[in-house]
């Protein structure tokens, strides 16, 4: 069961991450250096969600042999690089995943 108070706390954390700088910064206080490092935030966090979801099964075991998710993710990355389109990336991955699991 998900606790409503946990959702509220997460909501507050999310809100304050958006509000903090707007509330305290008067004018430009962020240096280019900090800006550059912060631009890496998605690259640092998203793979921590992506990789386990692809390489691990429900029990946390590493699955490398005949793992359809690896191939499908590779297809998605390829389509993403070519088209730079979010929706094409997601659906190329999902379609190839379904093709692999239903045809083989």
């Amino acid at each position: 069961m998900v606790d409503l108070s946990l959702i509220i706390y997460c909501g507050l954390v999310t809100f304050f991450s958006r509000y903090l700088m707007i509330a305290i910064l008067k004018k430009e206080m962020f240096t280019d250096r900090i800006r550059e490092v912060l631009s890496f935030v998605p690259s640092a966090i998203f793979p921590a969600i992506i990789f386990p979801a692809i390489f691990l099964d429900n029990t946390g075991m590493f699955v490398f042999d005949s793992n359809p998710k690896i191939y499908a993710a590779a297809v998605a990355v390829l389509f993403g690089l070519i088209t730079k389109n979010v929706i094409v990336t997601i659906f190329s991955g999902l379609t190839s995943y379904w093709l692999i699991i239903y045809m083989f």
Partner: protein
């Protein structure tokens, strides 16, 4: 129509194309939440109270893995740290606003609205130009709540064998495609991903997301420092 309304509408128009990928993302969130046994009311409350796609998906992912509240909260915090940058950019243009407006603009500040507003702020010299972010954000909000609701309804219909949970890593891959073209980002992506994968069982309290993210960010600090040196 007042000037502020014009800018607000401009925000709506500018962000609209970016709403196309948000539609499946919101539906996927709703479906997954129902699949995980959350009630429709709780699912809807998450979208309204948190109003952040990545945060909500991370929440579900860690909740289903059995992580503690503290780990879920700190991981959501880590995912949100990118908003600090958005807020910092907007703060330049919000400093003259009343606190109520600052709060409203903050609540509606999301990736998609920031992407289009950031572009608009550079082009426009209007004193009320920050209301662009409000218009874009409200648009995102409407789409997010509607698609969450659709997902809640579909959640009970879509069979689990379809493996729709795989859409989660795919969505995050899609959000990273621009960074996949930059060498330093690719290095950070691979290291963070490997730490999370191999640390999944080893790192206690399911804190693998936050541990991998912190190490990834430290690595980014070191790598970008090198780059500065190399350039002179």
């Amino acid at each position: 129509m007042s000037n502020k309304s014009n800018i607000f509408v401009k925000g709506i128009v500018d962000v609209s194309p970016l709403m196309i990928p948000v539609v499946p993302f919101g539906i996927i969130f709703g479906v997954l939440a129902i699949d995980l046994g959350l009630s429709p009311a709780t699912t809807m409350a998450m979208s309204i109270i948190i109003f952040g796609g990545a945060s909500q998906i991370v929440f579900l992912q860690l909740f289903s893995a059995g992580a503690s509240s503290l780990v879920i909260l700190s991981s959501v915090g880590a995912v949100n740290s990118r908003h600090l940058l958005y807020g910092a950019v907007l703060s330049e243009h919000t400093s003259d606003l009343k606190m109520t407006w600052k709060i409203i603009i903050s609540y509606f500040l999301v990736d998609q609205s920031f992407a289009v507003t950031n572009k608009y702020l550079k082009q426009s010299s209007d004193k009320d130009k920050v209301f662009h972010s409000f218009g874009a954000g409200v648009t995102c909000w409407m789409i997010w709540q509607t698609t969450t609701l659709i997902g809640i309804f579909l959640g009970s219909i879509i069979p689990e064998e379809l493996g729709l949970s795989f859409a989660v890593p795919l969505t995050f891959i899609a959000l990273l495609v621009d960074d996949l073209r930059k060498l330093l980002n690719v290095i950070v992506i691979i290291i963070s991903g490997l730490i999370a994968t191999f640390g999944y069982e080893i790192i206690p309290f399911k804190a693998y997301v936050i541990v991998a993210a912190v190490i990834g960010l430290l690595l980014a600090m070191i790598l970008t420092k090198f780059k500065v040196f190399r350039n002179g």
